[in-house]
């Protein structure tokens, strides 16, 4: 199914937390500031309902997204008060992909963990959490995975300040 078909199916079955969608569009000739947007379409989902939404995507007969390909986050810019959590899904049965996004406020970045739905989310959420300072509520093992255990700060946020030294080794 293409994106329209997936969106209609989700709306028809009342998928929990579906807020809206965003399609690629050409630049608006009347508005000089609007550069348009290329690339892929995606869905906006309520962060608190993300696991339930993913479960619907996985179990629905016409959608059947068996694989969680990626769960990551984006810090769009220093001025934007929100972080995005981006989930990529893949269906082997129907050969389609879907990108799902949630907007979280930077000051209180927290959402429920999707580990009960896809076991693949376990490590992805650990990495996402340590890199962006996002808390995944209910995650069975929220330790640091790539960074050292005592690393301070969320490195992939735009306002991250590089440390001067770590355990006596200079960073400069």
């Amino acid at each position: 199914m293409d994106f329209r078909g997936i969106l209609d199916r989700l709306r028809a079955t009342g998928a929990p937390g579906l807020l809206g969608h965003d399609l690629p569009r050409a630049a608006d000739p009347k508005d000089k500031k609007d550069k348009g947007r290329g690339g892929d379409p995606f869905l906006w989902v309520e962060p608190a309902q993300l696991p339930a939404f993913l479960e619907r995507c996985r179990d629905d007969e016409r959608l059947r997204f068996e694989l969680l390909i990626d769960l990551t986050a984006v810090d769009p810019s220093k001025d934007d008060p929100n972080l995005w959590v981006v989930v990529s899904l893949l269906s082997l049965a129907h050969r389609h992909r879907l990108t799902v996004k949630c907007a979280l406020p930077k000051a209180a970045a927290s959402l429920p963990s999707s580990v009960p739905v896809y076991r693949a989310a376990q490590w992805h959420e650990r990495e996402c959490g340590e890199m962006y300072g996002i808390t995944f509520a209910g995650h069975p093992d929220p330790r640091h995975i790539l960074l050292p255990e005592d690393w301070v700060g969320a490195p992939l946020r735009k306002d991250y300040v590089f440390p001067d030294e770590y355990h006596g080794i200079s960073c400069k």
Partner: protein, 166 residues
């Protein structure tokens, strides 16, 4: 060897004995299997049949640091790994040598500027004898680095007291 080191004056006999000891050491430098990143693949290529490392006597890669003479740091060092590198270096028995292979081990490599967890050169953690440049260095470059290390060992004085100026 520890009690005899650097105790004797320079004369014909100690020069000959030193030459023999150095020759034994440089002809059988046994490296430790310590590939970290992409340079490790080139190190494996050096150990294989095409660019044979064994003809230099250095083909016996030891898995344990306690049996190795040489640590070829092949790849990027980051903070998490740096503490382990220091521990492995301490576990190696003297005389021990370190070759920093590749741009990352020499000075941080391409991750110099924005790598927040990258140590800018393994010489911030362990003392390095030879630096081999490249990203990754060609196997021939690593062989040249090994030959430079052999020259360095040849010049070292084991039994002889180092010469004093004035």
């Amino acid at each position: 060897m520890g009690l005899l080191e650097r105790q004797f004056e320079e004369n014909v006999l100690t020069t000959r004995v030193d030459w023999l000891l150095n020759w034994c050491r440089l002809s059988s430098i046994w490296p430790m299997t310590f590939g970290l990143a992409c340079c490790a693949i080139e190190m494996m290529a050096v150990g294989c049949a095409h660019h044979d490392l064994d003809r230099f006597g250095a083909g016996a890669f030891r898995a344990s640091p306690r049996q190795a003479d040489l640590m070829i740091v092949a790849g990027t060092v980051n903070f998490k790994m740096a503490e382990r590198i220091k521990r492995l270096y301490d576990q190696m028995p003297a005389p021990k040598y370190v070759i920093a292979m590749g741009a990352c081990a020499t000075g941080g490599g391409p991750y110099y500027k924005y790598g927040y967890t990258v140590v800018k050169g393994v010489d911030r953690v362990v003392p390095v004898d030879v630096y081999v440049a490249g990203c990754p260095p060609r196997p021939e470059a690593l062989l040249e680095g090994l030959m430079k290390l052999q020259e360095k060992i040849q010049r070292s004085s084991v039994l002889r007291r180092p010469a004093r100026t004035a």
